[in-house]
Every structure is written in C-alpha cells, then in structure tokens.
Amino acid sequence: MTKHREPLGSKELAKKFGLSQEEWESVLKRLGRNPTLTELGLFSALWSEHCSYKSSKVHLKKFPTKGQRVLQGPGENAGAIDLGGGLAAVFKIESHNHPSYIEPVQGAATGVGGILRDIFTMGARPVALMNSLRFGRPEHPKTPHLLRGVVKGIGSYGNAVGIPTIAGEVYFDPSYDGNILVNAFALGVCKPGEVVRAVAKGAGNLIVYLGATTGRDGIHGATMASASFGEDIEEKRPTVQVGDPFKEKLLLEACMEMFAEGCLVGIQDMGAAGLSSSSSEMAARGGVGLEIDTQKVPARETGMTPYEFMLSESQERMLICCRPDQLAAIERIAYKWDVDCAVIGKVTDTQRLVVKHGDALAADVPVKELTDNAPLYERPHIAPPSPAKLDLANVADLSDVQGSLLRLLGSPNLCSRRWVYRQYDQDVGTLTIRRPDAADAGVIMLGPMFPGRKDALAMTVDCNARYVKADPLEGSKAVALECYRNLAATGALGLAITDCLNFGSPEDPIVMGELALACDGLAAAARALDTPVISGNVSLYNQTGDDGIDPTPTVGMVGQIADATKTGRLAPRAADLDVWLFGTGTPSLAQSEWLFVSRGEKKGRLPPVDIAAQKAACDAVRVLWEQDTLDAAHDVAEGGLLVALAEMVLAAPVGIRIDQPL
C-alpha cells in the first residue's frame, strides 16, 4: 500500500466546492493555516445550505418546537412526540429534489432510503411513508420521463423495504419545469423511553461503520443539493447514487435488533455528505472528538482517497458509537443480517475530528468549527409585492358550472392520482385502514402491532404553492390549516408538524422575503393549532437559471384518532342524509384552480386567514366523527365546493343534490 500523501486545498478548489470567498478566508482564519483537500471537503460539505441551514436558520427559530407531547424537537435526525399509553411517533420530511432531476428513478429511490434511515436511526420502526411531488407542465418535454421515473423510484424502494405509502400529493406547474420537487416523509414508532440519540461520547469508545460498502458515487451530493442547475448538468462522471432497498431492509432489521439488545451508545445514518456530516454531528452533540482511519472503511472501489471516503454518499450506511464490550454483539447481529461492519475509529476528548489514512494525516479540525460555529447569514429580504385584487367584471363563463366541473376534474392538478399510488404498496404491515382513495388523510391502526391499543394515526402532506406565491404569510397559514382540515375530516386531532421548505436562491432578496414571511405564517399557524414543528428540512437554490420556483413550504402533519373504529371517510354510503358546509370565510376565486385551468391566470389577493374560526370548524367535525354522527366528510381545497362534492360522489354508491343557496 503506497503511503497516502494528502494534497493541499486552494482558493480555486474552495470555489469549485461551493464555498464563497469570505467562507474560504474564514476557514484559513479558523485553522490558522491552509486547509488540506480533505479538510476543505469537510468544510464545504458541513457549511453547505443543506447541512448548516446558514441562510434559513434565523427564520427557523420562529417555529414553536415545544409542547407537552414533544419528546424530541428539531436538531436530531427526526422529531418525536408522545402518543400516550407508552408509545411515541417519530417522523420527518426531507427533499431529494436535485438528484431526482438528474436521474429520477435513483434520485427519488434514494430520497425514500434516506428518510427511512432518519427514522430508524432514532430507534423507531418505520410504519408509514408519504410523498409530495411537483413537476413542470405535463406538456413540457421532460415531464413524462421525470414523472414516470420518480413514481417508479419511490415505489420500487418503499415497496421492497416493505413500508406502506398511505398518502401524498402530485402537482404540475410551469414554475417546476426546470426543477422538480420530490419530498419524502416517513413515520416510525417506538417506546418513549427508547428514542435513540445520534451522539458519540465516552473517550475510548469505538466508532463502527455498518452497512453497504463505500464507493465514489455521489461525491459532493450535499453541495449539489443546494446548487442551482445551469444547462451543464450532464456530468461526465455519474455523481448519482444508486439505492439498494434490499440492503436497507437488512440494515433496518440489524439496527432494530441492536436497539433491542441495547448494544450501542449512539447512531446516525450517513445521509448527505456521508461520513463527514455523520461523524462531526455525532461528535458535536456529545462534545467529544473523533479519530477516523479511512483505510478501515469497507470499500467497493480500489484506491479511494480520504477525501473520497469522507465525502462519498454511497447509500445504506450507518455510523455507530459503542463501548468496546458492545462490539461483539454488534458484529454478531451484522453477520446474521449479512451487513458489512468495521471499526473505523474511536472517540477522543480533544473535540477535534482527526481523519487519517493508515498513519497519514488527512484532516485535523475542531468539530465545533464544522458544526455549531458554521457561518450564519442574515440575508437581505424584501417583502414580495402583493397581487392586485381580482375583478371578475366581464366573466362570461362563470355560469357554465357543468363545463367548469368537467374542465377542473380533467385538469392535471385535480384528475385521479390512481395511476400514481397504484404503484405504491399501501397495505404491507396490515395496519392501513384508509388508503389514499378512501379519505383526506392516510390512516394506520396501531392495535395489531401493539395489542390492546384502540387508537389510529392519521397523516397528510400538503402545500398550495400558488397561495404562498401570492401571499407568503397568509398562504403558509392556509397550508398548515389544509393539513389540519384533512386530519379532522378523518376524525383525527392534529398533533405536530414537520416541514420541507423548498425555495429559490437565498441570494435573491425577494426569495428570502418569501421565506421569512412563510416561516412567520407557519409559526403563527403551528402555535394557534397547537401543532409544534418537531423536524424538517430546507432546500434552497430550486430554480433553473435565474427563475426561482414558486415558494413551496410543504407541510406534513400527524394526528391521532382515539378509536380506530370511528375513523372518518370520504365517500357517503347512505342516502337521504343532509349535506352540511362547515367553516366560515368569504368565497373567493383569487388564485383559484378554476382561474388557472380556464384562463391560465394566477391572479387575485388572498382573503386573510382566520385560523381560530377554521380550527373551531375542524374540531367540530372531529368531535362529530367521535360521536359516530357523520357518514362522510371531505376537505374543500383546490376546485372549491364543486370539485369537493364531485369527488365525494365519484367515490360513493349515492348521489348529492344541492338546492339551498349558499
């Protein structure tokens, strides 16, 4: 083995790795010397938007993250809430937008793989998946290829690992023509006392690598995750990672057995930025240092350098901290499930991350400089102009209700999604009691898995990005409320939120204005609905060239139904029942789907959102379900009352007649 000679980093390399001029100089100051190539790689990965949230953190602080049910808020791999009766739910939503645009099947598949690992790394067994997908216009040349690939990728991965996909949404809008959005949500369950933290501690403890072997794939995926697309995205060397759901299932079962035996101190999945982010984040949480020898990392390619090992984003890998006496159990379980496992380092008390290759030093960096002290920016932000009021003076086709209904039901954003969710296994686990076509939220019962439990969990993922573009503050309140309504329509009480903030370039003050106001809106709604934000993700630079996408703060909300047998549904079954409209609010066609479908326009000013009134209406519907009073309930969203009633009838053996003027 030739001895490794670590090259030096440079200003040009820093620029190529996505670091700004100031950030390069900051690295020089913090180290007091020129960084090595590996050190520069560590800084560029950990200081990327994806890992550091440097442009968004100041706004994320507005979110309410505490509550008597919250066991773990933002800061860990996923958030956790107490469901009562000795059970906790762990969940999160995350984006895989840029990789899915380059290679839709593997991009989307590895998105599912990554979010699942974020859940089981917390000690929770994943039991449900959702996804939120946004594509360009159907007639855009790339859309059919991207749509088919993303749906195939999500299905192939989730189905193989055996986690049901029980809800989701698909939108088409010109603003995503050059930059699709693939947001994946996962939820798992465990005992409240058994939530595992991603921490390394105890000098002398071991750092153990578990999972697939490492290759050169996906190097610099983290910085790419927030890099905008110029036209030169066809790289010569595939930076795309290939997912292996079979290996993920083995890794999942191996981890579950390790948690049951309690043979580890801490664990984190290797996501964006692979070994570099998992090692430094675990060390930062424990206030310790780590020493890693990349020569000991199980590799699937020969001649890999420390830089490549630390930055590689090969999939299906975990990093474990354990006491020496726990190693034997870890190796036994890894062998049983045929998963690679190797001690690659140890915990030290120097608070420094030291990377060696054999005995050649490749990096020696204070952990805090990579993580807690990463730069934070107060980006300039300007409130976006609010649109003019809508005037419908000369609107002839308002009277053509029949024509409008057919146009709406046939439009890309309102037609049946069966072609999509039919490719997802919705039933594996035998807990699913409301599939995507049966109610406004996906619902799983907990009894079969935890005998004696009567409750069920409802979950939904929603975002009307057109509303948020028109009015980021009121629009994002409306997003949280749509989730709350969808849960209430199934009889569930909303408990907590996870959010995926998909925005354009933070260097554009208007985009930052949208982000700042959207966070204000989400924070206000989360507080008023008593649904704290317990986890989330930010994806910036979503644009092609200099056109940013519509601001898309996707929200995932989880709710609880006390008695699973009283779960609500969408389709009425009995005839001769009254139809009620719940909720207040002045009817308005501003930014409506009708306007977009019939005239291609996004116009009008949103009426202010009355959260308290809407919450009261939702709570009333929930209580009526609890009292077995309702036969069906459905949320009025895009397409308004007309489409909502049509969707109920399409799913039902009965019809609906409306004869009261509203």
Binding site: K152, G155, S156, N159, A160, V161, G162, D244, P245, F246, K247, K249, L250, W337, D338, Y421, R422, Q423, Y424, D425, Q426, D427, V428, G429, T430, T432, I433, M445, P448, A564, T565
Partner: protein
C-alpha cells in the same frame, strides 16, 4: 396446531402473516432461511416480500436458501405448505410448483383489491371453500403467471388451478391463474395476500378463510 413462518432476507410480510395466524389461535414457530432443520410443525408458510431484493429473478436466490431442502422434504411427506406472493415465486423457482411468475404485462407494480374464485376445495388450504369468491389485496410487480400450453392444459385437467382472477386479469397471467397446487395437493401458491384481509378494519376478512382452513381441518 403449529405453524412455521419462514423469514428470508428481504421478506417483509413475515410479521403480518405471523400476526394473522396468532389471531387464529395457532402456535407460531419463526423459521430462518439459514436453519438446516425444520422444527416439528403442522404447516410451513413462505410469506410475501422482496427476498434478496427480487434481484436476478423474484424468488431466485431464496429458492436456494439452506432451509429449502427441508421445506421440500416436509412437502414430500405430505406437510401443508403455503406460498404467498413472493412465497409463490420461491416455490416455483424451487421446482415445488410448476410455471413461473413473470413481470406484470403493464410492467408496473400494482396494489389494489381483486376478486378471485376458489376453484378447488380439496386442497389443504381451501377446505370448505368450494365455489366461493374472495376479495383479497394484491401488491406485486411480477405476478404474471406463465407456463407453456402443455403444462397449462395438464394443470387444468388435473384440477390444480386453485385460484383464478374472477373477471379482470390484473397482470396478464395465463388463463387468469392466481394460484395453483402441486400434484399431491398439499403445496399451494397464490399471488394475492390473505393476511392483508384478516381484520374487518382492513376492509375484508376473506383471507382468514384460507389461513384458517388449515387450522379447523388439522393437517392429517
């Protein structure tokens, strides 16, 4: 009544099948693909899932697992064996059932409910279900049953087509075949998932009629 459910690497319906049988009052033995001995049992179940990731061919690698010779011997002795979805694919790859499950003709994974007719009531798994139509969920990408015409004719003649898709053929299977049995009528494979129709809250309990058939009659 002892029932052994075998877990292969990549099986993901093993826990669901275990729960369904426990609900029926059976006592459960958890089998592992690397065991080389089968504990004394009354029935062996090969559950659904993506054993070995369905790589190369669905069921190809699991059919060569160390436990399989034991399962074959158990079947040769007349023991009741049920292969569900991936389990059916494994039984075909292991030569314990005839034919093969190819890629769905739509080329995509399908998850929905289907209706199947029970055409034979004299196998270990369909006792007392003569002429019934069951509503069960399917969830597979390779459920397209294939055999050459001679084999198909023989299966029909020997009354070994046990389940047939009632009307709509969801995946292109020859002659709408959803499940078959072996000559000795003790090994049955089917693509739909009976364990997913085992609770009124799941929308149907039809699946319990298949899983339960083995219990009431007892595996003589």
């Amino acid at each position: 009544m002892k029932v052994t459910v075998i877990t292969f690497p990549g099986s993901n319906c093993d826990r669901d099948v275990q729960r369904a049988f426990l609900g029926l009052g059976a006592s459960l033995i958890i089998g592992w693909h690397e065991d080389t001995k089968l504990e004394a049992t009354d029935a062996v179940i090969l559950p659904g899932g993506f054993s070995y990731g369905d790589y190369l061919r669905t069921g190809a690698m699991a059919a060569r697992a160390h436990i399989m010779p034991e399962v074959k011997a158990f079947a040769d002795r007349g023991g009741a064996v049920l292969g569900i979805c991936n389990g059916f694919q494994i039984l075909c790859e292991a030569g314990m059932l005839e034919g093969a499950l190819l890629r769905n003709d739509s080329l995509s994974f399908i998850c929905e409910d289907v209706k199947i007719d029970v055409e034979q009531a004299d196998t270990k798994w369909t006792r007392g279900l003569a002429g019934k139509t069951l509503r069960l969920p399917i969830a597979h990408g390779d459920g397209n049953f294939y055999a050459d015409e001679a084999t198909l004719d023989r299966l029909e003649a020997e009354k070994r087509v046990v389940f047939r898709y009632e009307a709509r053929n969801p995946n292109g299977s020859k002659r709408r075949i959803a499940g078959i049995c072996n000559a000795n009528r003790n090994v049955v494979g089917l693509m739909p998932h009976p364990e997913r129709a085992s609770d009124v809250l799941l929308g149907s309990t039809d699946g319990l009629q298949i899983l339960g058939a083995i219990l009431e009659g007892g595996a003589r």
